[in-house]
């Protein structure tokens, strides 16, 4: 039985302290109700636990965390998964700006749209590869400075029909990692020097694997998603600014 808590009257530092205490005691599943603007929930928590959040968590949900699986029934504000290390955030709604900043591992699945600067500075090493999947559309600077990891942008569940799939400066300065986009993006929207490529067999395998998990999370039909072609964006060099300096 998951432990149910109504946190509406609590300050975030109390909530985290309570969670830590229960985790210490061996509790592994939580349901948090009354979430509204609570910052830093699960920040820095290192444990294999599961949590369901009802409401709108505040800044930096799951920042630096290692392990927790958080499912949010609602939207998340800015900074979700900030420098997250391992674990998973599933959002049954939209997300604010700077999701997965400098993410090092784990997964973030967003059903709907995301804001600006999502997945910037993502990193990876060997088989530790963070993944962000966005069901809706993304703002500018998606994957800026990306050094590793995978971003998948579907553009399907958006509340902004008038907006492009991804904003301007997509992948600008990226020097590692891959961004997959379902459908097409204007080349002028890409960061300097970047080009869209068609997928190869390896890509398709990766994509299917991650999207399958995504579909399971939200009860979606994978074949529906795969109906349209994807493009991928990868760095043209791992040193996009190598020529910037006069030595």
């Amino acid at each position: 039985m998951p432990l149910e808590l109504d946190i509406s009257h609590l300050h975030y530092s109390q909530v985290n302290k309570i969670l830590r205490d229960y985790i210490e005691k061996g509790e592994r599943e939580f349901i948090l109700r009354g979430v509204n603007g609570h910052r830093y929930l699960f920040a820095g928590i290192s444990a294999e636990i599961k949590a369901q959040l009802y409401g709108t968590p505040g800044l930096d949900l799951g920042a630096f965390m290692r392990g927790p699986e958080i499912r949010v029934f609602g939207n998340v504000q800015d900074g979700a998964g900030n420098t997250m290390d391992e674990g998973k955030i599933v959002v049954h709604g939209m997300a604010g700006d700077v999701v997965g900043y400098a993410m090092r591992g784990g997964k973030i699945h967003i059903y709907g749209d995301v804001g600006y600067r999502v997945g910037i500075h993502m990193k990876a090493y060997m088989d530790k590869v963070p993944v962000i999947i966005i069901g809706g559309k993304a703002g500018d600077f998606l994957g800026e400075y990306m050094a590793g990891g995978i971003i998948i942008l579907l553009g399907m569940h958006s509340i902004y029909p008038e907006r492009p799939l991804a904003g301007l400066f997509l992948g600008t300065g990226m020097h590692g990692g891959t961004i997959y986009v379902r459908g097409k993006v204007k080349e002028s929207y890409l960061g300097l020097g970047l080009k869209p490529y068609a997928l190869d067999g390896e890509d398709e395998k990766i994509l299917e694997k991650h999207l399958k998990e995504y579909c399971d999370d939200f009860g979606l039909d994978l074949s529906e998603i795969l109906k349209e072609d994807f493009i991928k964006i990868i760095p043209y060099t791992h040193r996009p600014y190598g020529k910037l300096y006069a030595y």
Binding site: Y12, S13, N16, K17, R20, R39, Y40, A43, G44, S46, L59, D60, A63, F64, M65, R66, D78, G79, N82, T83, D85, V98, Y101, A102, R104, R117, I120, H121, K123, A124, Y125, K128, E144, Y145, A147, G148, G173, H175, G176, H238, R239, P240, Y241, G242, K243, L244, Y245, A246, Y247
Partner: protein, 507 residues
């Protein structure tokens, strides 16, 4: 014929080989990581490529017969007060390559160094100087926020605290080692710094490149850094030290982020930073989760939450025009210490224009920040750590008398381990094995040597500080803090003295 490369016509240095001494052992060829010494197999002789010499003096130091002298290149341009060789050559370089001028270390221009215009006081007759060799002399300093007043209760006839103090960091000497990242400097230097910090009872700072596994054992003497690139930043790292420093900026390059040139991103570095080998590790100019002061508060508390309020959070900024107001905002945002890095603060890589022209001198910044925080009644809520251009124990004393709680040294520690200030750290070829990750070069500076040199330096400075305090008739460092009576200006204007709140010598 290709386009002429003007810059290469006019080398900066000249390698003079004293042939009567040279035994052709070819040591210099091996030592020079830039390839300025060349062995001509056919003619069985040595050649020099002066254009490649960066003036690091490694060959000169290592030559067994002392057969090498490195000089400024004697070839001269016609004198011109405005168009000095520095500007001429920079323009050639940029015309050749079309790039941003890159350099290392701190501001190289002869801006007024205020430390050099401040003299210290000593006791004569009216009160006695104290001899630190035989009498107690205390340098212990606590970093972190303090309440303004104590609450005391009496229990069984004994006084005790009603409420314990929040966590604070104890320093046995008010000198810490500034952030220099693993990647910018070699692992060996990091190991030396960590060990020296432990034995001296002070702290070293990991910089923004993460923390090598071998260094976790020095946790209680460690400040970990959180910069915009968030390299090597995970929960264990955040919890590894006693403090977390949010790097907003640094004195050598205010307004831009960190830059570790791809040349230095080796396999090991790629692992701790989680970026591809050979890619430039670039930290963005801003933290993308901080676009305003309330966001800084957001990050400060995110870090505090993640570490369960057990670590202090420092915020480091470059000393810029509005440093006082900014520092005040930082304190109000909840920073436990503000680190102010002055104009002369060093770096492993910075655009030359930034290094030389952006920011303000640390002396003025300390005074202004201390004053502002005092005026706002929030000085006790934070500590001021001054950094950038601290070259001697006297500079430390002056910084504290101007209002700092402690200082950081960076460049001084590197010079202690052999750096010759060649200002080419960004090439990754540091021939002294300091600012490099090349496995061959780093062997030149073993961790034990780094430790010993750094330890010696700070030990010597600590002793000098005690001597100076003793001469002033003070036997603990807290009585130096902000003590302007101990400072007098020589050759400063009224305005400068007003900012520094010091009187002129003779007054």
């Amino acid at each position: 014929m290709g386009t002429p490369q003007f810059a290469s016509f006019y080398p900066d240095f000249y390698i003079e080989r004293l042939w009567e001494k040279c035994i052709k052992c070819r040591r210099c060829v091996k030592e020079c990581s830039y390839g300025a010494h060349i062995w001509d197999e056919k003619k069985k002789t040595l050649l020099e490529d002066h254009t490649k010499c960066v003036g690091c003096h490694r060959c000169e130091a290592m030559c067994p017969t002392k057969a090498i002298i490195i000089r400024r290149h004697p070839s001269e341009f016609r004198e011109h007060a405005l168009w000095t060789p520095w500007f001429i050559k920079n323009i050639y370089k940029q015309a050749d390559q079309g790039g941003v001028l890159l350099t290392s270390t701190g501001c190289a221009l002869p801006f007024k160094n205020y430390f050099d215009h401040l003299v210290l006081d000593a006791c004569q007759v009216t009160n006695p100087p104290i001899d630190p060799l035989r009498e107690p002399m205390e340098l212990r300093t606590y970093i972190g926020p303090k309440p303004e007043a104590l609450e005391i209760e009496e229990v069984n006839g004994k006084f005790r605290l009603k409420k314990k103090l929040p966590p604070l960091i104890k320093l046995e000497v008010p000198i810490m080692f500034a952030a220099m990242s693993y990647g910018a400097i070699s692992l060996h230097v990091h190991q030396g710094l960590a060990r020296a910090a432990r034995d001296l009872g002070t702290l070293y700072n990991t910089g923004e490149g993460g923390l090598h596994a071998s260094l976790y054992e020095y946790g209680s003497n460690t400040i970990v850094q959180c910069a915009s690139g968030r390299f090597g930043l995970h929960v264990d790292y955040l919890k590894a030290g006693v403090a977390i420093e949010i790097k907003i900026g640094q004195g050598a390059k205010p307004g831009i982020g960190g830059h570790l040139p791809g040349e230095k991103v080796t396999e090991e570095i790629s692992k701790t930073r989680m970026i591809p080998v050979g890619s430039d590790a670039l930290s963005p100019a801003p933290h993308h989760d901080i676009y305003s002061i309330e966001d800084l508060r957001g990050l400060i508390y995110a870090l505090k939450e993640a570490t369960e309020y057990k670590k202090l959070v420092f915020v480091k900024i470059a000393a810029v025009h509005n440093v006082a107001a900014i520092a005040s905002g930082i304190v109000r945002a909840g920073a436990d210490a503000v680190v102010i890095d002055g104009l002369k603060g060093g770096t492993g890589a910075a655009p030359t224009m930034f290094r030389d022209y952006i920011g303000i001198p640390i002396e003025l910044a300390i005074s202004a920040v201390d004053k502002r925080l005092r005026e706002e009644g929030i000085r006790h809520r934070t500590s001021i750590i001054a950094s950038g251009g601290i070259r001697s124990s006297a500079d430390v004393v002056k910084a504290i008398a101007l209002g700092a709680d402690a200082v950081y040294i960076g460049t001084a520690a590197l010079i202690a381990v052999g750096c010759t200030m060649c200002q080419r750290c960004y090439t990754g070829k540091c021939p002294w094995g300091i600012a490099t990750n090349n496995p061959e070069l780093i062997k030149r500076l073993p961790p034990e040597v780094a430790y010993e040199k750094i330890y010696n330096l700070v030990k010597a400075w600590a002793h000098e500080i005690k001597e100076m305090l003793g001469a002033m008739g003070i036997n603990s460092i807290e009585s130096l803090k902000g003590n302007r009576d101990k400072l007098r200006a020589v050759g400063l204007t009224k305005e400068e003295m007003e900012i520094l709140e010091v009187k002129h010598a003779g007054e």
